[in-house]
């Protein structure tokens, strides 16, 4: 260990409208150290990683690399300073070879008849060396599209290593990997550390941290709340640091759910995503689904709504089995879904508020396929009032509305089509606190009117707050199915992060 930290950040601050994402973060990293970085969603770890990688920049604070003050404004600055980041989302060009991807944009060249051409053998050789250094057996000439997801992840890391970084940031590197591939990745990280590369390892999987990290830093509410050697970090202590003392008890009034089953899901299987998921959803019940990123939350809703195909399992609505679910069939059975990606999948933003509100119930405002504009305005107007959607008018394009009001449009669309079951994927994502509370109230009032709701969220506190019952998903399996009054944030988080329960069946 040399006398200066490889990376030293002081008093980093970053403000987003409505949120102080980073509130004075101090951080030190030494050469050859593997530092685990954890925290709840919104704790500030992603923002911190983005600042280090040049994807965004801090409002204030200083950064020193090997003791020298540095400024990182762009991803290029980050590479130049020796910081390479591997994101969860892949950034590979599918149609190019492994070698071309690893050296993307920096292909060795040679002169041919006075023209600079890419030196293909040189590219293959350089990439081959990088892969060999990692101890990965991959053909540099293979097209990336033909690789498995874990193999692509290796290429992604090789690409980062090709910059010969001093600091490597891995953001949830194992979230898409099966167990045996995880071992290979952890071993690789250790090898890199031995060679003096400092690694920031962002992960939710507590169990794998002792095997790879030297130390662990916890973020909470935009602050670094503590850094401890890994042997002192018991899961209990980590969870306590993550949630602090401020979590509030769930507020959901324990209600007696109806015994009538609206939606019955049995043994849902989808390779790599869902493993034998079964549950019942009762009339007027709010069923919360908690789980970490990649635990299968979204996949479960998509499978029920017929967006992804199933390998096995059945879905029944009101006792009748749905043979092959599609959005159209599910709608006809009274099931609606508000997707996670509101802008990309929920709204038609160029259409008006009124048209969005009637999109899934055109049959209600039309006769013989001819739309009655008056009926449409009436229906849309009623919903705008019922959900207190703030809009300058019914004819305004949906994209002019704020996030919270857009979310209400998507919900209102399904209420207009008189659904009995509403699947809500991250309905409060990206909307402000006031709108969030309105969504919670809305969900509760839907339930009291007999509508059954599945409420998926990455924020466990809000799942507990709004739901009658909570399913905890862990790697595609149900790890717990309990009334929300019987659990608290700490317990749910523990179940969601544990690797003992809910091992994928392979």
């Amino acid at each position: 260990m040399s006398g200066v930290p490889i990376l030293k950040a002081e008093q980093m601050r970053k403000h987003y409208p409505g949120v102080q994402a980073l509130d004075g973060v101090d951080f030190e990293l030494w050469p050859g150290e593997v530092r685990a970085l954890i925290g709840k969603n919104g704790a500030g770890k992603s923002t911190f990683v983005k600042i280090l990688s040049g994807a965004t920049h801090a409002d204030s604070g200083t950064l020193a690399i090997e003791g020298k003050p540095s400024v990182i404004r762009t991803p290029h600055d980050a590479f130049a300073s020796g910081i390479a980041t591997v994101y969860q989302e892949m950034s590979l060009v599918m149609g190019l070879t492994v070698a071309e991807n690893i050296l993307l944009g920096r292909w060795p060249r040679r002169s041919r008849l006075g023209v600079q051409v890419i030196d293909k053998p040189g590219t293959v050789e350089a990439a081959g060396q990088a892969l060999e250094m990692m101890g990965v057996k991959l053909n540099p000439r293979e097209i990336v599209r033909r690789l498995s997801v874990p193999e692509r992840q290796m290429v992604e890391i090789a690409k980062a290593l090709a910059f010969k970084p001093k600091v490597l940031i891995l953001d949830e590197p194992t979230s898409s990997l099966p167990a045996h591939e995880v071992d290979a990745l952890l071993a690789l990280v250790r090898r890199l550390a031995e060679r003096g590369v400092a690694v920031i390892y962002v992960s939710h999987r507590l169990q794998e941290l002792p095997r790879v990290a030297d130390s662990l830093t916890v973020f909470r509410d935009g602050r670094q709340v503590g850094t401890v050697p890994i042997r002192e970090a018991s899961p209990e202590r980590i969870v306590q640091m993550m949630i602090g003392g401020e979590w509030k008890k769930s507020r959901a009034a324990a209600r007696q759910a109806s015994s009538r089953v609206r939606l019955a899901v049995r043994g849902l299987e989808r390779r790599h995503h869902l493993h034998g998921v079964s549950f019942d959803l009762h009339e007027g019940e709010v069923l919360g689904i908690a789980g970490l990123l990649g635990s299968g939350r979204t996949e479960l809703l998509r499978a029920i709504f017929g967006l992804d195909s199933l390998d096995a399992g059945t879905i029944s609505v009101d006792g009748k089995q749905v043979s092959r679910p599609t959005p159209m069939r599910m709608k006809a059975l009274g099931v609606g879904m508000t997707p996670e990606d509101r802008k990309g999948q929920g709204l038609v933003s160029v259409l008006s508020v009124a048209k969005n509100l009637t999109l899934s119930c055109l049959d209600r405002v039309s006769r013989n396929s001819v739309i009655s504009l008056r009926a449409e305005r009436a229906l849309a107007g009623t919903m705008v009032e019922a959900l207190s959607i703030r809009t300058p008018g019914l004819a305004v394009q949906a994209r002019a509305l704020s996030g919270g009001n857009q979310q209400k449009l998507v919900i209102g669309k399904w209420l207009n089509s008189q659904v009995k079951v509403l699947l809500m994927d991250e309905p409060t994502r990206g909307i402000d606190i006031e709108a969030k509370n309105q969504v919670y109230e809305l969900v509760r009032s839907l339930a009291s009117r007999g509508i059954s709701v599945i409420f998926v969220s990455s924020e466990i506190d809000e799942v507990l707050e709004v739901s009658d019952r909570v399913l905890v998903l862990n790697r595609g399996s149900i790890a717990a199915d309990v009334p929300s009054s019987e659990v608290d944030l700490e317990k749910v988080l523990g179940i969601a992060m544990s690797t003992e329960e809910g091992q994928p069946k392979e």
Binding site: P17, A332, G344, S349, K355, L359, A400, R429
Partner: protein, 335 residues
């Protein structure tokens, strides 16, 4: 932390909210701008071009624009639905050739021959739509392939010779008048009115806008997106065939060489009429204005004796100007 990012994004979007209305207003300006340009063009031509205002010339213009105008109704639906059909010119040619073969070489009565042509073109369109949705191939590519092979088929059918069709009743379709108005113009204006109604007032029309605006959100709303897309191509096929029948009547011959470049003429008219190339936005009224604008401009330039090559230059400039206008009105993708 994504949450906050999106929050930030949503705030920006809110800020653009007022902007959204401004854009709507500018869209209106754009359309009334086109109406203004049309009136201005009309006034200038009335003053400078000899015989421009004569009833004969007016009806000639109306008849001339009708052939492309009928197809433009279907093309407007296609572009609103974020699709495009490049095969329409070739469908016109195949219709013409097939009509000649059926009526003259095979001696069929005219009405069954027309019906067969219309059905055939509709099926071909539906087929293109099926290929497009079944294998998720861009409609552009599918219809380029159609464009080539249908025209080729038309030439094969007729050995590349025009087939004269002499039938007075048939001649009425392209050349006749009803209360002084050319019959093709009546078909055009009727089609326009019908599609104006379909696009704004029917479930199908609304679905086309929704699919073009955001196909995934539309699918998630339980709307049969694939059926809508296939219907779009069936419609352009049918309308191109109707136009082909009228044109064949007008020319009194079935010929595989007609309709060359019509796909671009129709698309230009639709774009000038303010329909978004990206889907989800557009109107039949705009297309009507676009069709008339191009028609009047062409007619005026002919009357003024403008060099024909220069006429093409002028058309190109106007299309570019219209597309730029629509690009400026469109919000940045990052917004």
């Amino acid at each position: 932390m994504k949450t906050q990012q999106r929050e930030a994004a949503s705030v920006t979007r809110t800020a653009a909210g007022a902007d959204g209305r401004v854009r709507g207003f500018r869209g209106f300006l754009g359309r009334s701008g086109l109406l203004g340009a049309l009136i201005l063009l009309f006034a200038i031509l009335a003053i400078v071009a000899p015989n421009f205002l004569s009833a004969r010339n007016m009806f000639n213009v109306l008849r001339q624009v009708s052939f492309v105008g009928i197809i433009a109704c279907g093309m407007t639906m296609a572009l609103i639905g974020a699709e495009v059909d490049l095969s329409v010119g070739s469908v016109v040619a195949l219709t013409s050739a097939l009509l000649g073969v059926l009526c003259v070489k095979l001696g069929w009565p005219i009405i069954p021959a027309i019906v067969v042509c219309l059905v055939e073109a509709t099926l071909v369109g539906l087929f293109a739509g099926f290929i497009r949705v079944r294998w998720d191939i861009p409609g552009l590519i599918v219809t380029i392939a159609m464009m080539l092979s249908l025209r080729g088929m038309a030439f094969v059918l007729t050995n590349a010779f025009p087939i004269p069709i002499t039938n007075d009743a048939f001649g009425f379709l392209g050349g006749g008048y009803i209360v002084g108005i050319p019959f093709p113009a009546i078909v055009f204006l009727t089609t326009m009115a019908l599609f104006g109604f379909i696009s704004t007032r029917t479930v199908y029309g609304r679905s086309v806008y929704a699919v073009g605006g955001n196909s995934e959100a539309t699918r998630l709303s339980g709307i049969p997106v694939t059926r809508v897309r296939i219907t779009i191509f069936g419609t352009t096929g049918l309308l191109a065939a109707i136009s082909g029948v009228l044109l064949t009547s007008r020319l009194s011959s079935g010929y595989a060489g007609v309709g060359v470049g019509w796909e671009f003429d129709t698309i230009s008219a639709v774009i000038i009429g303010g329909t978004s190339l990206f889907g989800g936005e557009g109107s039949m009224f705009g297309t009507l204005l676009g069709v008339l604008f191009i028609g009047l401009l062409g007619n005026g330039m002919v009357l003024l004796g403008v060099n024909p090559y220069l006429q093409d230059v002028a058309r190109g400039v106007i299309i570019l100007a219209a597309v730029l206008l629509s690009a400026f009105q469109r919000p940045k993708a990052s917004a």
